[in-house]
């Protein structure tokens, strides 16, 4: 286990009446790429700003390298930030922007020159030293902001939705570059985003934040395949959520009643009448024209949507709930208006018990 570099202990943050961050406990390991993921207004940026020192927690402790940073001003902390809008200094050229931190620390000129040159090489901006910030494109500004922060060799680099302003193609390219850079430098990255795909692509671990509470923290694979809460299941990727009640406990499986019909999950510790939520990813959903034993989920094909790299079929159940099924090829789908029966491999249904007791489930 790598050593912990940043930790939040029972951190709370209030803005007046608003409880933005609620009793947050989080350990960030040295060298990892951790993403704080959540919808806008969930408190993830506030968490980042408490680490950088621009906000003070209302309660609780934040430690960087095992030392409380409560009394440290932002300019005394060994962390650097890449801001959402880059916040590059318009009164300086590219070189002076990148050199800023070193100049403040009064590093000798020759060394500054050497390190800035190295940094600009690292972010592929050699030869742009004398350019004005206003002459640079969004992607280039992004790289300058990155270089300006990294040149200080921070213990932790905080990134606040740094790719938000870039177009899709550039974003994807920068995602890969950022990840490679992080691996190469071995610096801890704490990355804030509301884009789940971005989080899945880059992170070693993802912390899902909703309304100031951490819903789940785990590797992208585990988060995607084993969401612990309904929120996580719905926020990460697409999910079909079934709200069910335990109906029958059989030898090899458990039958769960839905509005009309029933579904099944593998055997486990259930009691009849217990409420259980099941999440099934669209890509593991199957359908057939006839009923299949164990499942009784009937619906009508309502829509077929071409998304590019896959095709999505929407099946409407009798209670109006829409179930999504995705395939790579439209040949594998049914026709509009067809009556279909849905099913999936038992183990692919992720069981989420009532949200207040989600800790019990795995």
């Amino acid at each position: 286990m790598a050593k912990t570099i940043v930790s939040m202990l029972n951190v709370d943050k209030w803005y007046g009446e608003n409880h933005i961050v609620k009793n947050m406990n989080l350990d960030i390991s040295e060298g990892e790429f951790l993403t704080l993921l959540g919808p806008s207004g969930c408190g993830k940026t506030t968490m980042l700003r408490m680490v950088s020192g621009f906000e003070q927690p209302s309660a609780g402790t934040i430690k960087v390298e095992n030392e409380s940073v409560e009394k440290k001003e932002p300019y005394q902390r060994n962390v650097n930030t890449v801001f959402q809008n880059y916040a590059l200094f318009p009164n300086m050229n590219v070189y002076d922007n990148v050199a800023y931190g070193l100049k403040i620390k009064k590093v000798p000129k020759a060394e500054i020159k050497k390190r800035v040159t190295e940094m600009l090489k690292l972010v592929q901006l050699e030869g742009f030293e004398k350019r004005r910030i206003s002459q640079m494109s969004g992607g280039q500004k992004q790289r300058i902001a990155l270089a300006r922060a990294l040149i200080n060799h921070p213990k932790v680099l905080l990134l606040d939705e740094p790719l938000g302003a870039l177009d899709l193609k550039l974003r994807k390219q920068m995602q890969i570059e950022l990840k490679q850079l992080q691996k190469r430098l071995g610096i801890t990255f704490v990355y804030v985003t509301h884009d789940q795909e971005e989080a899945l692509t880059m992170s070693d671990r993802i912390a899902i934040i909703n309304e100031g509470v951490m819903e789940q923290i785990d590797t992208p694979k585990n988060i995607y395949e084993h969401p612990k809460t309904r929120f996580v299941a719905e926020f990460i990727g697409e999910s079909n959520i079934f709200d069910t009640v335990v109906k029958n406990i059989l030898e090899d499986k458990v039958e769960l009643a839905i509005a009309e019909g029933h579904i099944a999950v593998p055997r486990g510790e259930y009691t009849v009448g217990e409420k259980v939520t099941v999440s099934v990813r669209p890509e593991v959903m199957s359908f057939s024209r006839e009923r299949i034993s164990g499942f009784s989920v009937k619906g009508v094909v309502k829509d077929i949507i071409y998304v590019g790299n896959f095709v999505k079929m929407i099946v409407e159940m009798s209670n109006g709930q829409e179930i999504k099924i995705t395939r790579f090829d439209s040949m594998e789908l049914s026709d509009l208006g067809d009556v279909v029966y849905l099913n999936w491999p038992l183990e692919k249904g992720v069981v989420i018990r009532m949200e207040d007791s989600f800790e019990d489930t795995v």
């Binding site: 020192g53 801001f83 200094f89 200080n152």
Partner: protein, 295 residues
């Protein structure tokens, strides 16, 4: 068909013309009649000769301009520039912190401060100047207070000298310095200040490396707005300087009203215009570049 098109185009261009004339015409006529023509007349007059009893003799001469460098007059000019510069520098030094404070406050509070700043404009200039006389004279409020408290034994002579003149001008012109500075500080992206702190710069370094350079255009605008009126002011100099202080404005006034030497007055007016142009040029040279950087 083609002909019709070109006719239509002509119609459009005529309509455009008319709107242009309607929009810019009045201002153009006004500035030509009341600024450019008088300036041209002044320029012409400044090369003419003074006749007896204030009559202008239409003979070309450079004497008026040579007279400017007469030590008596030249000292007045030097003094004027000095007083104007001191007033300008003081108004920036006093105005900038206030503008900064105002810009960092919530909209509601900064609005109230703005009104407080504007109050001097609601008062007649004469009233303001007389209140200064009442406050600053030897038995005035300020001197009485200082003596009662025991800071001074004798009344300080605060009236009828450069101190009074500068104080009066500062009072009148401080809002002109504050407003452009406020607007540039208010527009400053506060994220840049955070970025600077994030990179290890404390408040002082952040101010000198980021805030000051980026708000310099506002400072230069304030400098121009204060310097130009100060160098030409003569009412304040007259009343608070008590006739002991002479500035270019008073000198020009005297040439036209008392000495009846219009050609020399015209030459001095030209000099004043040149001084202002030089100041504008300097500010634009420095401030313009900075403005470009900040954009």
């Amino acid at each position: 068909m083609k002909k019709k098109n070109s006719e239509e185009k002509e119609k459009i261009s005529i309509a455009k013309r008319i709107s242009q004339i309607a929009l810019c015409g009045p201002v153009t006529i006004w500035s030509v009649l009341f600024i450019y023509v008088p300036m041209a007349l002044l320029l012409f007059m400044s090369f003419m000769t003074k006749g007896p009893l204030g009559i202008i003799k239409y003979e070309f001469t450079l004497e008026n301009y040579k007279a400017i460098f007469d030590s008596v007059y030249f000292n007045v000019i030097k003094e004027s520039v000095l007083v104007a510069l001191i007033t300008t520098v003081l108004s920036v030094l006093m105005g900038y912190p206030f503008a900064y404070f105002m810009a960092m406050k919530k909209k509601k509070i900064s609005g109230i401060l703005m009104i407080l700043l504007m109050i001097p404009f609601w008062t007649n200039e004469l009233v303001i100047v007389y209140s200064f006389v009442i406050l600053l004279n030897n038995s005035g409020l300020v001197n009485t207070f200082l003596q009662v408290v025991g800071i001074t034994k004798e009344p300080l002579s605060m009236l009828y000298n450069n101190f009074a003149v500068i104080a009066g001008m500062l009072y009148m012109l401080l809002p002109f310095a504050v407003l452009p500075m406020y607007s540039s500080i208010e527009k400053l992206d506060k994220g840049l200040l955070e970025a600077s702190k994030d990179l290890g710069a404390g408040p002082v370094k952040t101010f000198f490396k980021i805030t000051l350079p980026l708000t310099a255009p506002g400072i230069f605008a304030g400098v121009i707005l204060v310097f130009i009126p100060t160098i030409g002011y003569y009412q304040i100099t007259d009343m608070l300087g008590g006739g002991t202080q002479m500035m270019i404005g008073n000198l020009i006034n005297n040439q036209f009203s008392i000495s009846r030497n219009w050609p020399f007055g015209a030459a001095l007016s030209m000099l004043l215009a040149v001084l202002i142009l030089v100041m504008l040029f300097i500010c634009q040279k420095i401030g313009g570049n900075l403005d470009d950087l900040a954009a």
